[in-house]
Symmetry: C2
Subunit: 339 residues, 2 copies
């Protein structure tokens, strides 16, 4: 009998998740049944959307129940397989969640090739975050040569891909990040045309200077102050793919007024803006294969770059997740669990 | 020398337009130059967008300047023509504005056939309002059979077309209007599946009962309380074409808080909503001809119905316009100026 050590939701967090909102427990795993595999987690992914799963509010996916293990993508090694689609020793992308071992349906697993690229890329640049950027730009943002694309959290796995895809389309890429080190990374490492620190007192003036022709695409993944500053600069027929609003994920109440909801609708009307929320899973069935092929090649040959922030040790998971919500990580946040 | 009596903007209205915001004046018109025609206004169109033109706020079109005549579509008779595209006696659709006579470029004029349909239809069901509904549904709303479409101001020329196009697509059409007479008209005259009075105390409950499967398309032309009530009922992948926000056009300040702008973005995200502002002129170059042909046939054979509210006398223009912003009219509001 194999056991797993897992982090379960003990209470729904109010505001920033506290240690006491979780419980670490070690339990027996069932034997893998037909079509299942027993996996050892090597790396687990931490992503902003997980904050939503901790909440009972209506969202695009069911919340994690109290007492259930937190969900999430994992890179794991196959310990036992009942099925010839994965073999013992294979390294696979799965959805094991915040735990050291898991039993999963083999139909959800994708075998990775550790000789091609680091297997952690399946959680970031070549995983859900990278595909989120790709799907949002391909289907909604659709930048044209000469246009201006703005993205926040731009050193993250979504934002850095957005900027690089904008550049590949011939658009001007403007990245927003917090702190001098991240800002420098945007131009030096990811090739953004301009980079701005959202913590700067003159953030609005810097954004105006960096977007002299206005903004055609704002890829929304943070919300809050950045959105407030971007909105007045959106051009006629601007597009706003909305894949996340991380700045508000810990919010416990609506901000004080005045109520700007009607103002936003007014801006959408007067500038013929397109605002479209999306989750990458909408586009994965039809576009993931092309993404993996095209972007996989670009990552392998270095024409698309990425950065990972790998935290060592399963016991660091909760604290690392808190840091993700406040921008402490630099690049795609991953916890090394084993291997 | 021909004179025109015209209504010019004397001051920018604050809140509801007052008589003193306008000035009626009679001035000489220039002789029509090459490519121009002298026109006598038969009917002038009153439309909600005109409130925006009275304001200096940034919008999709330049504001009317102080001292300039109010703009707008007109059906006119040709008194003099310098050009063989229009002949003396022709009845034409033009853009003469709030005045009794005008000199216009013939390139903007469309000759109407008074024997086919009433010429006033060129201002409503077969004009800008009807095409607004058509373009928004065709390009953004895209209702599918079995889906639910909701529209407010539903006895108006945009809303009544939205409902009828929804029905033609096999969707369930739910109309919102103010007052029992208008509500009855929605089902009896325009064929809506359900109709609701937004003034009812239990408006939210009525809307829920009328949309048991949620809302797939909300055609936004009013904003305010209706939008607040519709938003929580939007389905996954719902579409919101935004062509107007008439309920807020007289507003002088943002409403009191809390600030729901982030909440709206959150709803867009979690339900993968599409919100798209548009002005019909974006689509007119490519789709107006098809609209005039297809919808013209449908109006002529009675499969699409329309209602007009024709006010008699140029001196009624300002008061009629005020009524438009508060829903006093029933159907497309037109002022009969002559003829």
């Amino acid at each position: 009998m194999t056991t797993t050590t897992r982090i379960v939701l003990a209470e729904r967090p109010v505001g920033e998740p506290k240690d006491s909102d979780f419980r670490v427990e070690t339990v027996d795993l069932p034997e893998p049944g037909p079509g299942e595999a027993l996996l050892e987690t090597l790396y687990l992914s931490l992503d902003p959307y997980m904050r939503g799963r901790m909440s009972a509010a209506k969202s695009y996916a069911k919340p994690v129940e109290i007492g259930q293990a937190m969900v999430g993508a994992t890179v794991s090694r196959v310990l036992e397989s009942t099925d010839d689609t994965v073999a013992v020793g294979d390294v696979v992308l799965g959805y094991g969640g915040w735990q050291t071992h898991s039993v999963e349906s083999t139909s959800y697993l994708r075998v990775l090739n550790p000789d091609a690229l680091p297997v952690t890329t399946a959680l970031g640049v070549l995983g859900m975050p990278g595909f989120t950027a790709y799907a949002g730009m391909h289907n909604i943002g659709q930048p044209k040569a000469g246009e201006t694309v703005v993205v926040a959290a731009a050193t993250g796995p979504v934002g850095s891909m957005v900027g690089q895809l904008a550049r590949l389309a011939g658009a001007r890429a403007v990245g927003i990040a917090g702190g001098a080190a991240k800002v420098a990374m945007l131009t030096d490492e990811f090739g953004f045309d301009a980079a701005i620190d959202h913590r700067a007192d003159d953030f609005a003036e810097q954004l105006a200077a960096a977007t002299p022709d206005g903004i055609d695409v704002y890829f929304e993944n943070v919300g809050g102050k950045v959105f407030d500053t971007v909105l007045p600069r959106m051009n006629l027929y601007g597009r706003i793919p909305v894949c996340g609003l991380v700045s508000g994920y810990n919010a416990t109440a609506l901000p004080d007024g005045p109520d700007r909801m009607g103002m936003l609708m007014g801006r959408i009307l007067t500038s013929s803006l397109l605002v479209r929320g999306f989750i990458q899973s909408e586009f994965a069935p039809t576009q993931m294969a092309t993404f993996l092929s095209d972007i996989g090649t670009a990552v392998a040959n270095g024409s698309i770059r990425y950065r990972e922030d790998i935290v060592d040790g399963f016991d660091q998971t909760i604290d690392a997740f808190r840091g993700l919500l406040t921008g402490r990580n630099v690049g795609k946040l991953i916890v090394r669990v084993a291997g």
